[in-house]
């Protein structure tokens, strides 16, 4: 009787291919009932293609679900997901050019957001390079994307973040930048003016640091050797 052995062998084979099978099933299950049926097939195809290219699938699923929740027509959901997949691909290419061989899905998604907000591939690479630990490149890119989306010019956005990082500002300080720009705008400033004010403030000593403090990796000037 070979049936038990065959069944066990089948289980073994299935377990080998389980990650891919589950991934596809997972996407389908998450879209089911949340995305218009006519969009589901297209989104599954886009997601499968993205996965084959090593791109993160989660942002695509989230975007499709968001469109479904908002009652967006199927063709617009497909278009938005396809556009996002394209930006993820561009962001991945920018990461590779920045010397990051296998960026995480969050980083690629942050890069795609930054590209969508108007930053160039070169600016994304620059933000990647400056986001050395303890700074998280994914969060740096997302903050940059939000600043640019608020109307801060892309070049000024990169300069502001570079100044914050070189000044050793905390991750929380970076995350609070969009809110501070928003506050400045609500008080009558343009986004560029609000960002310029924040850039000037970033040059000062961070809260909780002594006046002679210098950011990690920078040399402290000698008082007798200017």
């Amino acid at each position: 009787m070979r049936t038990p052995q065959l069944a066990l062998g089948l289980v073994l084979v299935l377990s080998t291919v389980l990650p891919h099978g589950l991934g596809a099933q997972d996407v389908a299950a998450r879209l089911d009932g949340r995305v218009p049926p006519e969009a589901q097939r297209a989104v599954r195809g886009i997601a499968a293609d993205a996965a084959a290219r090593g791109l993160p699938v989660e942002p695509l699923v989230q975007k499709a679900i968001e469109g479904g929740a908002k009652g967006v027509p199927a063709d617009r959901v497909i278009a938005a997901v396809r556009a996002l997949a394209g930006r993820l691909g561009e962001a991945m290419a920018a990461m590779h050019e920045a010397g990051v061989a296998a960026p995480s899905g969050d980083v690629v998604e942050g890069g795609a957001d930054a590209l969508n907000a108007g930053l160039s591939g070169g600016q994304v690479r620059e933000l990647m390079r400056m986001s050395h630990p303890p700074y998280d490149p994914a969060l740096t890119l997302r903050v940059a994307a939000t600043l640019a989306a608020l109307g801060v010019p892309a070049k000024q956005t990169v300069q502001l973040l570079a100044g914050m990082i070189s000044a050793g500002r905390s991750l929380g300080d970076l995350l609070s930048l969009p809110g501070q720009v928003q506050t400045g705008v609500s008080h009558g400033a343009t986004p560029a003016q609000a960002a310029a004010g924040l850039a000037r403030a970033a040059g000062g000593t961070p809260p909780g640091r002594s006046p002679g403090w210098v950011p990690p990796g920078q040399r402290k000037g000698h008082p007798h050797k200017p």
Binding site: M1, P4, Q5, L8, G9, V11, L12, L14, S15, T16, L18, P19, L22, R30, R34, Q62, K63, I65, E66, G67, G68, A69, K70, G71, V72, R76, V77, A80, A83, L84, N116, A117, L139, R142, V143, A145, T146, A149, L150, S170, L171, G172, L175, S176, P178, G179, V181, Q182
Partner: protein
């Protein structure tokens, strides 16, 4: 009245002893016991054939009930013999497959609630999450929810609670540190950006609010 016979008298009744073998003081008790036993009518009771037929008819009727038969079939214990012939490598392969399946299931990333907030303060909830308060002024609304990447954009997953009759709706969520997008959903259909939070294009021609959640626990926006 005798309530219990002497053990020797009981042996007399059982035929193990004779009356002569009893001690003289027990012989009267023995004689009385023998007399009472001898007075009993030991003739077999004969039931009428009609009575027996009536009893058996009731028994057959109960036995013929489909429900009772089914119950007996379901309830009756049976002996089951299972014989398997499996080679050792097949057992190990099966165990390996089960273990691999368990590892993959455990390694699957759990759906992570992503923190997003609007006009709120954040306080440290746990090491990796922060309590974020969402507030919307929506006088006249019958129902307000917040949807975002932290709840799979579910319009009914996170409802806000009205603060009295002032038109202010609030809720507090534990969200992880980071930057997140969200929108309010008024009366189940109208998507509203948070007027106190930055907003970005959502790719569908509308806008999403953005909240940055920091671990410091201070005001985030």
């Amino acid at each position: 009245m005798i309530t219990g016979y002497h053990p020797l008298v009981k042996r007399l009744l059982d035929g193990e002893l004779s009356l002569a073998q009893l001690p003289p003081e027990l012989r009267a008790e023995g004689e009385e016991a023998l007399r009472l036993v001898g007075a009993a009518d030991r003739a077999p009771v004969a039931l009428s054939p009609a009575f027996e037929e009536r009893v058996m008819a009731v028994v057959r009727r109960h036995a013929a009930s489909p429900g009772r038969r089914a119950w007996r079939w379901l309830n009756a214990p049976r002996e089951v013999e299972l014989r398997l012939r499996v080679r050792p490598w097949a057992v190990w392969a099966g165990a390996l497959a089960v273990a691999a399946g368990l590892v993959l299931l455990l390694a699957r990333p759990a759906p992570s609630p992503e923190p997003r907030g609007g006009t709120q303060q954040a306080h440290v909830g746990t090491r990796d999450s922060v309590l974020v308060r969402f507030v919307l002024f929506a006088p006249g609304a019958r129902r307000v929810a917040v949807a975002g990447t932290f709840n799979q954009w579910d319009r009914s997953a996170t409802l806000l609670v009205p603060a009295g009759t002032s038109g202010v709706w609030t809720t507090t969520l534990a969200l992880p540190v980071g930057q997140h997008q969200y929108a309010f959903v008024v009366d189940g259909a109208r998507w509203v950006v948070d007027p106190a939070a930055p907003a970005v294009a959502d790719g569908f021609g509308r806008r999403n609010s953005v909240v940055a959640v920091t671990a410091q626990g201070g005001r985030v926006l």
